[in-house]
């Protein structure tokens, strides 16, 4: 008996050491895995830039790079919000609708060719307020009524588009008549386009929210397990609504900037943005199931897609082929990104 107890104690000690040694190995490998993904993305970006600059000498010029940054600015702003939503394990498809509604509201309240009131900065506040209302509505319906975010935001896309179309009415296009704002987005300040500066600010704030605030941390926790969040007494409800609100406001900001860039108000100002944003988040390595990922990775994803798009145009790929080519590359990239995320029975949902 004494014998047995003794042996088990010795066994316990030995086993613990064995476990510890194995664990430090696992830890090292885990850290490597965490780094390997963004690094491979960065490598892909470098390769892509290399290939395009071989094909076309105009690609690696300052003006084209500034062009790429301008192009990427709006998707970047929207993608920060989309990353937060996807980290929850949800999805926001309303992006383009919210962009349209916000853009139209903003231009009709600013100096434009249709006349009307020029509210100046209040136009921004009211327009972003519209985005906020749409976002809170999505968030509340999703959270309180427990409707899948996919469906709620799909509906909200069309509601936004509907609001924009109503505002648009049957009149002539509202053209922006503000000297200072016309072309502001692509104007260069300190070597970078203005809209890109805005994107940098949003990215910075996004990272701060995700890394260092309760909203950000609970978002990651919900993505891991909402059941645990609730049983830990954390504010799951409020955080979910807040994240949808943040995402919609960022979409709205994107909508206003897109309107400035276009110089005219259009309900379809956000057309095509969703197709860059969601794949960019996924290619960046943020899990669609939630809980894992980050904003910097999404930034890499957006760059990858914008450069791909820009490079294909410059390399003279016929526009009729372009969407097919982009689609193929997207699917391939996502298969690659999702490979490591399969579970041990290789179940995908």
């Amino acid at each position: 008996m004494v014998h047995k107890v003794l042996a088990e104690q010795v066994a316990g000690g030995m086993n613990t050491t064995a476990i510890r040694i194995r664990e430090s190995g696992i830890e090292r490998r885990a850290r490597f895995r965490g780094l390997a993904e963004p690094l491979s993305l960065l490598a892909a970006l470098v390769v892509l830039i290399g290939v395009f600059s071989l094909f076309n000498e105009r690609f690696l010029t300052a003006s084209n790079l500034q062009n790429v940054l301008t192009q990427s600015a709006i998707p970047l702003i929207v993608a920060v919000g989309a990353t937060l939503v996807i980290l929850l394990g949800s999805i926001d498809l309303s992006v383009e609708g919210v962009m349209g509604a916000t853009g139209m509201t903003w231009i009709l309240l600013s100096a434009n060719s249709r006349g009307g009131a020029d509210l100046g900065p209040w136009a921004w506040v009211i327009a972003l307020g519209v985005a906020l209302v749409l976002g809170v509505a999505s968030g509340l319906i999703f959270t309180a009524l427990k409707v899948p975010s996919f469906i709620v935001t799909l509906g909200m896309w069309y509601i936004g588009l509907g609001i924009a179309t109503m505002l648009y009415g049957t009149d002539l296009l509202p053209r922006l008549e503000d000297e200072a704002l016309s072309g502001w987005t692509s104007r260069i300040t300190l070597g970078l386009p203005n809209s890109f500066w805005v994107a940098l600010l949003v990215i910075g704030l996004g990272i701060l929210v995700l890394r260092s605030t309760r909203i950000g941390r609970v978002t990651l926790a919900i993505g891991n397990s909402e059941t645990i969040v609730r049983s830990a007494g954390l504010p799951a409800f409020r955080v979910k609504v807040a994240v949808f609100a943040i995402a919609a406001v960022l979409s709205g900001l994107g909508g206003i900037l897109a309107t400035v860039q276009l110089d005219i108000g259009s309900p379809t100002v956000g057309s095509g943005v969703l197709f860059i944003v969601i794949p960019a988040v996924v290619i960046g390595g943020t899990h669609l199931g939630g809980g894992k990922g980050g904003i910097l990775r999404t930034v890499l994803g957006v760059f990858l897609l914008t450069i791909l798009n820009n490079g294909l145009i410059l390399s003279g790929v016929e526009s009729s082929y372009q969407s097919a080519v982009t689609g193929v590359i997207l699917v391939a990239a996502i298969v690659f990104a999702a490979w490591s995320q399969r579970d041990r029975l290789r179940v995908a949902k």
């Binding site: 104690q9 066994a11 664990e23 830890e27 885990a30 309760r214 941390r217 049983s231």
Partner: protein
């Protein structure tokens, strides 16, 4: 008797769901520094009682007082504030976050590592978490991600969190541990037991477990629940393990260990594994499983025994060697093929791999081998229900309501349903059981064990990954011991009589 008010005092607390009285008039008092064992069979009302204490359920009647003050918990946050931290049976850590964040998850804004603006001060957060870990004697790195931790370390993190949460209130913390050792290997359990014993220096503990020996070792007092009522409250010095067992199940004593009349190995094995190797998991493993015999594979958590078991079922691939099942042999075994050949598998991860919780129990039973419950592509619900009733009766699955969602059954009864799913096959040749008794109470464990024996006697080969050496010695005909991915010992219990110590030595 001390005069200080009890840390926690329950007076005639009741809770019912519809007509089911889950908890009936439970009164209980816990003083500071006491470790209380709470035992009872699955479905005895332990979980419900714990959920009331953790604020997840609201009780219908009775009063709960913390430090002499009556409390009403409206949610988990209230219970935390009152100083009650719970380590749930299911792991409740965010695996994607660091150890520190999991421990500090309930830190209110303006305290600890979170400033008044709600911004996190990570350095402070890591330091606080390290302090909480230190308090329970753990030296985990707070910056490690939880997904990279072993189970025993995860339990330590859970305990640290429970302590941290309750220590932030002004009362003595009360930590509730709901079967913290159920999913651990034996050696890991001992580490945890040692840590739990230390907790009495910090606060009080309610320790829920199925393992009576463990309760006797750790606790000062044991309370027993049966059918929703608290039927006994004893000091461990005044009670024996057998007495507790009797109180718990309401039966006389442990079911007598049946003496096995081992069937001599038949001429040909049902499953023959020849020199299979998987890089990083196991190497050169050869095992033969014969009809009518139970083969137990022993080993520690790094031995690779689980991987071998999963390979037999086609759930994991291997690099070289061969597995032949009932005459079929091929390198590329899939689950589909294994099932078609008559292999059944009861996984350790019951909730995620063994059952469909959101499906009624009867449909779960008829999932893989529907037998008479289908004709061609058509399902026959009435026959399926009859089939399920038969299994419910045979395996004593309670409550006898096969049309209820499987997730609403208790763990032991879920396990029986999973077993029934495979037993329903008319051509079951081999059954692979990965920790089949994990998390089951002794009563349910006995039934499952008896069922495994009877399946085996019907000529099925059973390959078992047991929780303990005792379980293997109790039930198996053959024992294979694995160490670091290689076989380190083979015993035929018909001829050999290995001591626990021998087996242990070969495991380590």
């Amino acid at each position: 008797m001390t005069t200080t008010p009890a840390v926690l005092h329950l007076d005639a607390v009741s809770k019912s769901f519809g007509s089911n009285h889950a908890v009936r008039g439970v009164s209980l008092s816990i003083r500071s520094g006491e470790v209380i064992g709470l035992i009872g069979e699955n479905g005895a009302g332990k979980s419900t009682l714990l959920k009331i204490l953790s604020g997840n359920y609201r009780h219908d009647e009775g009063t709960i007082a913390v430090n002499g003050r009556e409390v009403q918990f409206r949610g988990p946050a209230d219970a935390l504030r009152a100083g009650i931290g719970v380590v749930h049976q299911e792991q409740s850590l965010f695996t994607n976050l660091t150890v520190a964040e999991n421990i500090e998850v309930n830190t209110p804004i303006g305290r600890g590592g979170i400033n008044r603006l709600g911004l996190y001060n990570w350095r402070r957060l890591y330091a606080d978490a390290a302090k909480a870990l230190d308090l329970i004697g753990s030296h985990l790195n707070p910056r490690t991600r939880v997904s990279d931790l072993s189970f025993v370390d995860r339990q330590m993190v859970e305990i640290a969190r429970a302590i941290r949460v309750s220590a932030s209130s002004d009362t003595t913390p009360l930590v509730i541990l709901d079967e913290p050792t159920a999913i651990l290997e034996r050696t890991e359990t001992e580490i945890l037991e040692r840590e739990i014993s230390k907790l009495r220096n910090i606060g009080s503990v309610i320790f829920v477990s199925h393992r009576l020996d463990e309760v006797m070792r750790i606790c000062d007092r044991v309370v027993v629940m049966r059918d929703g009522e608290l039927i006994a409250d004893r000091r461990v010095d005044d009670v024996t393990e057998d007495e507790l067992f009797r109180l718990m199940v309401g039966r006389e004593t442990h079911a007598a260990v049946q003496s096995r009349r081992s069937i001599e190995p038949a001429s040909s094995p049902v499953i023959s594994i020849h020199d299979i190797t998987k890089a990083g998991a196991y190497a050169d493993v050869s095992i033969n499983a014969y009809p009518g015999r139970i083969l137990a594979i022993l080993g520690t958590s790094g031995s690779g025994r689980e991987s071998v078991a999963r390979a037999i079922f086609g759930a994991e691939s291997f690099d070289s060697g061969s597995i032949s099942i009932a005459g079929y042999s091929g390198r590329h075994l899939s689950i589909k093929k294994a099932v078609a050949l008559g292999v059944g598998y009861v996984p350790a991860e019951r909730k995620t791999e063994g059952m469909v919780g959101e499906m009624p129990a009867d449909q779960n039973i008829a999932l893989t081998h529907p037998g008479s419950a289908v004709i061609g592509p058509f399902e026959l619900p009435r026959r399926r229900l009859a089939l399920a009733r038969m299994w419910f009766e045979k395996l004593d699955i309670r409550p006898r309501e096969p049309e209820h969602m499987l997730q609403d059954f208790s763990g032991g009864n879920q396990q029986k349903v999973v077993l029934a799913k495979w037993l329903n096959s008319s051509q079951l040749k081999a059954l692979v059981l990965d920790h089949p008794l994990r998390g089951l109470d002794p009563g349910a464990g006995e039934t499952v064990k008896a069922q495994i024996r009877s399946v085996c006697d019907d000529g099925t080969a059973v390959i078992l990954i047991p929780d303990t050496i005792e379980e293997a010695l109790d039930i198996a005909d053959d024992i294979v011991v694995m160490r670091d991915g290689r076989i380190s010992g083979v015993y035929d219990l018909g001829h050999d009589n290995p001591a626990t110590l021998d087996l242990l030595e070969r495991m380590l």
